[in-house]
Subunit: 226 residues, 2 copies
DNA sequence: AATTCTGTGTCATCGAAATGTCATCGTCAC
DNA sequence: GTGACGATGACATTTCGATGACACAGAATT
């Protein structure tokens, strides 16, 4: 779990990351809102610890505006102002928790862990065609419910075909999407990979049709074509 | 938003619901853990406010056991014991926040609103996969009930894998979530950490599968291959 | 302050598995 | 029939992951 700490007080710049690292969290540090913004752009964090007052402004304003764009990473505010009005302010603008300085490091750790745990668990999509299911997250393919293990290239080609069912895909397109720049467009790698893919999917009719001079496409052999 | 308040003190039985209703929350009241259990069975709540000490026991025990079954509704504990050890204890067993009595009603409202908004998206504090248990609070891992001691990085990687069981996780994702910005994405730290993790978990079949060219994932080796 | 210990990162090497190449065969369209 | 294109088996090459040994930093201990 990775956390961004945004803090300008030199003492806390040392203490807070140290405390969080002791809880096996990976910690990055930023000193200003501008720095934090850049770090948030570059990396994926599970939680952000924001000092309220920073050299370039009040962090609540920043968080508020990011929330407007749907930014959802949990935030813990560290604040020296312990008036209740300010606390309410912090929550109402999308922050998820706050801690009043001075605080016990154990408490900080507990709260950050609690916030980090609620990560957005997004389900990667599952592609289907005929009796073939391709689970992009698990990198698994099933035919008629039976698990079929594919090589990386084979998977990648099938994924591309399944994302455009019944469209004819040229060898060039396949090379461009499934191979890197080093691939030789003149070779017959695509043909070979298609052959291997067919061999793996021998659990039903051949769904991969060669379109002479054009490329390949997925098609159900029973269905009529144009 | 609907909230269940579990409280036996007659004074608070009046004051707490009144305060929450003033914030436009729908409030139900229970006086014992048994009553609460029934109410939770019948209705869906966005948040539960639990007094720590109730006539039929300490509510932490109840919450802890419900969490084991994946129950995820946010809980706010009201506690008279303000020692930090107790606070940490409350969190580590799946509670999401606590408030020390006596408290300001405004603060109660703020916290309940925050928890309700957060929704039941928190993950249960103990992750399980096959015969491996990972306690995020205690930072302990058990395989087949046997305690396995892990290094911080190893724990962190396992936690991330276990939070997305059977999903293939790229080295990049692992670096981003388990290492800080100083990590070199080109190095093979991830591979080495995986090797070490496997070595520690040698108490059963290898659950960590390398997916060539993509990353790693947790999988039960029972699945047949072709 | 010096020393040991512990955790973590780096590097080099090994070996297996994935993938590309090539030669040959089959087949489809005209 | 024939010429071009696709299919396929055998083989060569490359890549990638696993791992042992070592290096280094910081914490703990003396």
């Amino acid at each position: 779990m990775r956390v961004l700490v945004v803090e300008d007080d030199p003492e806390l710049q040392v203490a807070v990351p140290a405390a969080l690292r002791s809880a096996a969290l990976a910690v990055d540090l930023a000193g200003t809102i501008a720095d934090a913004d850049e770090a948030l752009f570059v990396n994926a964090y599970d939680c952000v610890v924001f000092d309220r007052m920073l050299p370039d402004g009040d962090s609540i304003g920043y968080v508020r505006s990011r929330r407007q764009d749907g930014w959802a990473v949990p935030v813990l505010f560290l604040t020296a102002m312990d008036q209740l009005a300010d606390r309410v302010d912090g929550f109402e603008h999308g922050g998820d928790d706050y801690l009043v300085k001075p605080f016990a490091v154990e408490e900080l750790i507990v709260r950050v862990l609690s916030l980090s745990r609620r990560g957005p668990t997004i389900r990667p999509p599952i592609l289907r065609y005929a009796d073939v299911e391709l689970d992009t997250g698990r990198r698994e393919v099933r035919r008629g419910g039976v698990l079929v293990t594919l090589r990386a290239k084979e998977f990648s080609v099938l994924e591309f075909l399944m994302s455009r069912p019944e469209q004819t895909i040229s060898r060039t397109d396949l090379i461009e999407h499934c191979w890197d720049a080093a691939a030789d467009p003149m070779s017959n790698v695509v043909d070979v990979t298609i052959t291997r893919l067919r061999a793996r999917l021998r659990g039903g009719p051949d769904l991969i049709q060669a379109v002479r001079g054009r490329g390949y496409r997925l098609i159900q052999p029973s269905g009529a074509q144009s």
